[in-house]
Symmetry: none
């Protein structure tokens, strides 16, 4: 079961029998992704995914050990990654970041419940933690690079706690989105950027 093995073990030499269909892999992920945006994660059933993918349920369970594992993989695979832009300054970088994310959120339908649901799933099933970690890392990585670059540039103090910085910035955005289903935008976005940068600025 995948869920995180991108480096994939190329170990076992002797492969006998019919190999797994790569098309099935893709069809399943695509079907899952499509359906999750159509009906939300609550209205999602394995039978539906299977029939939409033209695949049997057994074929799915041969690859993923649970519904949640599949969904996490589907999301991690389908996620349009954020390609960080180096604008030359933290301020510019953050502005660009928040703008891009905001736009992405406004266009992506039915996804508000995704993360919550997956966290809920991971909570009750430890096997999903790695996939959830991946998910988290993929989302925070660009911000981490962004802040670390700023430190290297000397824009932020050397002892900047990047983790907390990310959590403040991303956390604020998530909190607003989760509880009010709205998105940081315009003046608010600008103010959040200002606040965060001021927070990180050299103390006294």
């Amino acid at each position: 079961m995948p869920a995180t093995d991108l480096p994939a073990a190329p170990a076992q030499p002797a492969k006998r029998g019919r190999p797994r269909s790569a098309e099935a892999d893709e069809a399943i992920l695509t079907a899952a992704l499509t359906l999750v945006t159509e009906v939300g994660i609550g209205g999602l059933s394995m039978d539906d995914i299977a029939s939409r993918a033209g695949v049997s349920k057994a074929t799915i369970y041969r690859r993923w050990e649970s519904k949640e594992a599949l969904i996490l993989d589907a999301l991690n695979s389908g996620l349009g990654r954020y390609e960080p832009v180096d604008t030359g300054s933290v301020l510019g970088d953050l502005r660009t970041y928040i703008g891009t994310i905001a736009e992405k959120l406004r266009n992506g339908a039915k996804t508000r419940d995704l993360i919550p649901h997956l966290i809920a799933a991971a909570t009750s099933n430890p096997a999903l933690e790695p996939a959830l970690d991946d998910y988290s890392r993929i989302r925070t990585q660009p911000l981490r690079e962004l802040f670390e670059r700023a430190v290297r540039r000397g824009e932020l103090p050397a002892d900047t706690d990047v983790t907390i910085a990310i959590e403040m910035f991303l956390g604020a955005m998530s909190h607003r989105r989760l509880f009010s289903d709205s998105v940081y935008d315009g003046a608010d976005a600008e103010r959040l950027v200002t606040y965060v940068l001021r927070a990180l600025s050299a103390g006294e």
Copy 2:
């Protein structure tokens, strides 16, 4: 279905037929609350709640239109509210706040998946939004008062954006908890408080 009507519509005075049992109300909420902490939200069934409360399922469904609506109400009713302490300074207030919350989270078992799950539910069922709003308001209110008091004291600028302040502070805490299942504590907690206060301090 309740879910938020504490102010309750005093509209129609003419109540006919046998009135709803207040004991049933309470028994159900208590049972739901107990079970949710015992088995988590995923392992929760209406049959279990009903039997634990000594009540029939029909009696539950007469009051709440779905499992999630019930749980939201149960949480809102059973929530030990945070009683904000006025230490005389924002710094002290925030330190006290984060300490109290951290302790509460460490002791409360099985609750990491609660909020996510409920948000997920609210997403797919608009009828739950009010209850979710209540939930959010109850949690953010103490922080709001805390920050507003600081503004009145003159510790923070008059144009402080309290909403964003809350989102940064609470968002950071939530983000860490949700994705890493750990809690702001010790030096980290101190640094978060410092960062947030510096963010809000008069610009320039």
Copy 3:
């Protein structure tokens, strides 16, 4: 609880409190009778009867101890009794009888399942036996009189077993109706009459 007490006990002298509404009695019976012909006995619910009669369920249960008891009473009350005609001969009497019944059956809709259902109910609830006996007696009485008159006339032997005669005649009609939902008619009716009369004729 009635179910059979048409002679009604005029016993108890001291009546206290509000007397039972005679209108309710009738409304209930009428509603039950109407509904039973509309939706059949299977689709019948006490709530429906109550609401159709403009009466509360408690009012019904104050009078009858169960759904089946009510239905039996409703049927016994609503049954258009067969008024036996004395044509002067058994042959004529039986011909008239079978003709009348056949016509009645052809016109009465949704009633095929009534008797079976009631027997089923009576089987599992001994309290209904008297009402079922009434039901049976009301249906068999005309035939009994018919045969006894024939014996008095000398058309049939003095030792004629009237009970068996009735069972053969009525049983044949019921059997056909229950298992094939058809009705004795025309030549078949004539032949049945012939057979039965021949059966009862003096042996040897």
Copy 4:
């Protein structure tokens, strides 16, 4: 849904997917049959049948569309068929028949309500008619053979209406059983046989 297809449509040969378990079929029918004799048809629940058969409810509903359809099949499958004995004369045959049936009825518990209940069910659900017809045919077939043999022997007239004969004989027995829960026996049985044979004897 079976219900009657013993000749089974050999139509589509292409069977895909896991085939239905024959053991489940049998376990379900057996469980239904056992339970029906234990608790009667009224006290019968699908959950009980399922658990007794070690089967899930879904498995039952995959095969039969309703409780009644299942019961009909169970009865038709489990029915100890009457093995007609050729005693050499109608008189002997009928005596043997009535004796055997009477004994069977006296021993079979809780079955008085079966036929009525099933007829009631069939009335409101046309899909059950075939199964009910089977039921009826299985019960009447021995009698039909018995009478036809008598005609071939010359004991009964060539124009004997066998259907009516059956209805008179079986109808009388059913009628007594249904309305009085008693069984033809001894002198009564003898008289019924006599009456029926006399009814069928050459007229005039």
